[in-house]
Amino acid sequence: MRDLAFLGFLAVILGMGFRRPFIFVLAYVYIDIVAPQRLTYFLLNSVPVSQIAIGLAVLGWAVADSHKHTRITFRQVVMILFLIYCGITTTMADFPLPASDKWGWVWKSLAFAIFLPFTLTTRLRMEALALFMTLSAAAIIIVGGVKTLASGGGYGVLNLMIANNVGLYESSSISMAAICIIPLILYLRKYNTIFPKGWPANLFCAAFIFACLLIPIGTQARTGLICIAVLALLSLRSTKRRFLYIFLMGAAAAVAVPLLPSSFSDRMGTIKTYKGDQSAATRIAVWKWTIDYAADHPLGGGFDAYRGNKIRFETVSSSEAGGQVNIEANVVEDKARAYHSAYFEVLGEQGYPGLILWLTIHVVGLFRMEVIRRRYKKRDEQNGQWMGSLAEALQHAHVIYLIGATFVGVAYQPFIYLLVGMQIGLDSYAQRRRAQESDDGPEWRAAPQGWGKQPHWTPAA
């Protein structure tokens, strides 16, 4: 039954794409996030739905879209270079088989992010993309949120419909993505032009954000807690009544902490005592190994180069008994431990050139969003305020990702590259609007009205 429902849904959405080709792009985004082929037992799981959707999306854009404003941007060029570089390191990888497996999905994620901005030519398209991203993620987040409320969840035990850790169904990735999309949900709540306003939509937004906040509790991924803290800090920037906000946050935390499951509080407590925690000590040991590895292999070892590591580290734990503090040190040996950090993942796999390209993609994004935010945020609603607010939401999501990524190996997570693609699309759109404004802006009033070019629209006084 579920299989038929998914099949029907996809058939209808793809059918709509033949009338409005941009819907093919949205269909791909949906398939990328929800992975309906993994949720079904027959029919869809044997059809390459993802390839069909991307093929139709590119074809639809090439045939039916206007290419009048198609320009390649700096960040797209950097992403193309990064993609080529990853391809080269894959051919010389330390572990060719796992490397080519990973390349199989990484190149798609990067290539789609390079293509996506070309299709984002109107405000409505960006809004539709944001809605498809958040609502597709909602399919997973609502499940996680409700199950956490019902059972309290647990590290590695929260069942998010798919048992294997793929894509956003992996607990650390979903904890980070769930917090990343909160700024986007808040943006859509205010600026969307598709859903009618009123209490049902407000209620849904509130419940959705609540479910997002429950995901780190349900998965007990410590990264999620750090992401929530970053979100709380970032929200201070866009809050008018800061003291009231801080007071309300403090009050909410005071109410929430006693209600958290004790297993969650215990696990989060290990952030402070990381020296005694094997998982944290492993990370630090792997990071040291990666720095040494990059010194020997500055051009990178290809995807999954971590498989070659052998690490040895000490954990220190203290216990108190009879007024005496006993400090116990244990030496642990381990091998083939994953990076557990996007930064070290890129450094080990793509070396310093790859790390520079990867950082450029992300840091330039933060900077460009800040430029748009400052330019448009203070305007009135009819004059592009939404661009400032969308830039702010995308920037906040990106900062949350970049901080969360310190502790999770999510350097190539497709969801983040959708955000990057949307940032580039918004940037190009804003530049176009700016050029149009300087043509038609306040100066046009003084220009002769005769038979010349007429203004597209009248700027508000």
Binding site: F9, L124, A128, L135, V146, L188, K190, W457
Partner: protein, 46 residues
């Protein structure tokens, strides 16, 4: 049960978005650009 509820709700909303997009000429072109449409938002406005 929870899985079905979550999938049904999210897919119904995605479907609604797609249908609304079909009816909007400004999906593909803003050539007849008017000032930005006044946002409806979800919230009640002052």
């Amino acid at each position: 049960m929870i899985d079905t509820f979550s999938l049904a709700l999210s897919h119904a909303l995605l479907f609604y978005v797609a249908v609304r997009l079909m009816l909007r000429p400004d999906l593909d072109s803003e050539e007849s650009a008017e000032p930005d449409e006044k946002t409806k938002g979800f919230g009640r406005r002052a």
